[in-house]
Amino acid sequence: MFDLIVPAILVSIVSFFSVYAITPFLIHALEKRNLTVKDYHRKGGDMIPRPGGPSILIGIIASEVTLFAFFPTTAIITIIVTTSLAFVVGIIDDRKALGGWFKPIALAASAIPIILLGSYDTNLAFPLFGSFKIPALYLALIIFIIPITGNTINSIDVLNGVVSGFMAIASFSLSASLFVMQNYEIAIASLPLGFVSLAFYKYHKFPSRIFPGDSGALTLGAMYGVIAILGHVEIVAAIALLPAVMNSFLFLSSVKRIVEHRQIKNPTIVTSDFKLMATEDKDAPITLLRLILATGPMTEKQIVSVIFKMAFFSALLAIITAFMMGIKI
């Protein structure tokens, strides 16, 4: 057990403090190059540096390379390669806004190393009922999982601190689930995701000093998807993401096509006292944010608090599901 505790503590420290230390330098560098975007929800509309993806990626790579020194497995190489490719997709989208189909296709391509390195199992495990083997179908599933997790996480990057805080909660619950299911190596490999998100949240929470951008959100989402595949916890991972899944489901069922969020009408409007309220425009999509605001205008901090409560609720359901994996009826 000692040989697991030491790397677990070490990768947690490396991942947290590398992002914590690098992000202020990144903020300074982005401001110097005038790579900033307006925060429309804030009084005065401050210009915020973007993207924070590079510091997130550095934190992930630094911690996974540290872990590789303890466990030299292809699983860790797969995490590094796939996450880095997703980062490249994100940084391209950050620099040059591309069409709605670019990200899903490019993210699908970034999942190819998982297949090439053979870091997967063809069993899909469900709670209570066991698993079923899908040799050919699972390859297709791998190609779908990374774009789904990447874009689902990206779709909730709507307010200060939401994506980083949400990812911290979801990934710690995924790590806890992996420990429950006694998949210790992948559980330790998943810890950097939670700690990187937590360290980034320090700068991303309201009032944000940096935005993660597509490079940050897609990097976090892709790593989450890879962990789900490598740890054989696809269903548990989906459950921990339920509020984000619900957001995507509501969005797609109202828009009825795959489209960039920049191309659609904003489902919220800002009041004169800088609260957010749901728009009355019937053509605007229905999103999680719009439903939360159905009770009336709220401050950004209040909305984020509601989303985090939902994330904790889903995290609890995910851990319950992990325990249910051990029960067969």
Binding site: P127, P135, A136, I235, M246, F249
Partner: protein, 80 residues
């Protein structure tokens, strides 16, 4: 009040995943092409395709049920 309905929707999604997964495992475990397809690896892939078809049908049913529940839960708010 609205937030409670969102929490209940998340809970319903979770229950549907558990039940849907159960159906998937039970139905696909019944599929065996032994005796119908003689060539080893082809048998495996035909069975996989049959399982994929069942999985896709179940996912469509899952989305349909979820859409109906969504409309039922959020009906008034969506209309306004």
């Amino acid at each position: 009040m609205m937030n409670y309905t969102i929490f209940s929707f998340i809970l319903i999604m979770w229950i549907l995943i558990i039940i849907g997964g159960g159906f998937l495992v039970v139905l696909t475990s019944m599929i065996s092409l032994e005796g119908y397809v003689k060539i080893g690896f082809l048998e495996l892939y035909y069975a996989s395709i049959a399982k994929a078809v069942i999985a896709i049908i179940l996912i469509i049913i899952w989305i349909y049920i979820l859409t109906k529940i969504k409309n039922w839960i959020f009906y008034k708010k969506i209309k306004t």
